[in-house]
């Protein structure tokens, strides 16, 4: 595929008009981390941001307050704390249920007629979003499995340092695919703080691999994407940092493991 073709696919994808086989083809390129496709998509995305940002409009009063209220009222729907949480396990059997649900809803809408169409539209939209979410989770799971299976994956054990001597962690790291990190025995971070994982290669400055927190049992996990410019990692470390993380470590080191 030449550059113009990728550019066309990226433009159509960013504009939301790509469909069918071409959509599948471009999504496969993105999944595979094709640098040209990702670059073209970022460029198109930035252009559309420019277009949108050129005509801002003050949002109506009340929307922000309504959102914050909704968030406060539904903390349980919040995904677990890690920045890139490992996908929640879902029984495989849910797939046919979701699909047959969507088909039944579609069929019923036709049979009953469109007088109740708006009800079904909402349900179909919700089912479509569920299916999209399941697909995303499945892709994430497949990435994790691929990392675990690949012989090139490094397994690094991290041990607890003085702030948490009983803490332990494992990093399964693959330079091209990213990694899976699991830690146990960490104390709950204080309010406004989170743990940050660092990859250290040679004498280079540590590179952030993401931010995570731990649950009540002291267990936390993080799915780590490939880190640009980092191939062989000599060590992984975890420090306590302000929630959201920092570009360079500043806090106490809780875990360290050399590969």
């Amino acid at each position: 595929m030449n550059r113009d073709e990728i550019g066309e696919l990226a433009a159509a994808y960013a504009l939301g008009g790509l469909e069918g086989e071409e959509l599948a083809r471009f999504e496969a390129l993105l999944e595979a981390g094709d640098a040209e496709a990702l670059r073209a998509l970022r460029e198109c995305g930035d252009t559309l941001v420019g277009l949108a940002a050129a005509a801002p409009e003050p949002p109506p009063a009340g929307v922000k307050a309504a959102l914050l209220e909704r968030i406060a009222a539904a903390p349980a729907t919040r995904p677990a704390a890690p920045a890139r949480p490992l996908p929640r396990r879902r029984p495989r059997a849910l797939w046919p249920v979701v699909l047959s649900g969507a088909m039944a809803a579609g069929l019923a809408a036709v049979v009953v007629g469109w007088s109740v169409s708006s009800t079904y539209e909402k349900r179909l939209d919700a089912l479509a979003r569920d299916a999209e979410q399941l697909r995303a989770e499945l892709r994430a799971q497949q990435t994790v499995i691929a990392i675990l299976r690949d012989p090139a994956t490094q397994v690094v054990a991290l041990t607890g340092l003085p702030p948490a001597p009983a803490a332990r962690a494992r990093m399964m790291w693959h330079a091209q695919a990213g990694g899976v990190f699991v830690a146990t025995g960490l104390p709950a971070p204080p309010e406004g703080k989170a743990y940050q994982l660092w990859a250290i290669a040679g004498t280079n400055a540590p590179v952030s691999a993401g931010v995570f927190t731990v649950d009540a049992s002291g267990t936390g996990s993080l799915a780590v994407r490939p880190l640009p410019g980092v191939s062989t990692v000599n060590a992984f470390a975890v420090t306590l940092e302000p929630a959201g993380g920092l570009p360079a470590p500043s806090g106490d080191m809780y875990l360290l493991g050399k590969s």
């Binding site: 198109c44 420019g50 940002a53 927190t213």
Partner: protein, 193 residues
Amino acid sequence: MSPLAPGSESSAALIAAIAAGDRDAFGRFYDLTAPMAFGLIRRVLRDPEAAAEVLQEVFWQVWQDAARYDPTRGSPEAWLVTRAKTRAIDRLRSVRRRDRTFVAPVDESVAQRREEPAENPAVVAEDRSLVQNALAQLPEPQRRVIELAFFEGLTQSEIATRLGEPLGTVKTRARLGLERLRGALGAERLSAT
């Protein structure tokens, strides 16, 4: 990174904090990006109440899905713009579908107050001079393809049918149009600073 935003670095940090459940970060991200998102939603969907509902839905998704934001695919702003555009188009389509098969719309206020995008894109964009300026620098055929795709949510084959042009032509126009638009928006910003 977003070409627009000196704030693009902090917006990535905000998304990471939102993913970790930080409500303050969510508030800051909203303040930073909601005007852009709302301008876009209103461009697609001119009914103010419907637009406000879509805005709320879009940011609710931001809160729920922040952990799935993938920086390799673009800036947080681009991620947001895609969502805002998609939800606004979904809403526009559902209003239109309901109208075509009208029996008794559940939400009459939406059906009655909705405004179709005007046929003449220049009129629609009249009060949005920067967009107008940037879009106006495109040759008419390229501008039409981008508007039909981005503001009206047509797929490329629908655009080809609507314009009576071959699909390949539509594809090329979309790509060239975005390339030229990038240049135009860049020039606007340079002249603005």
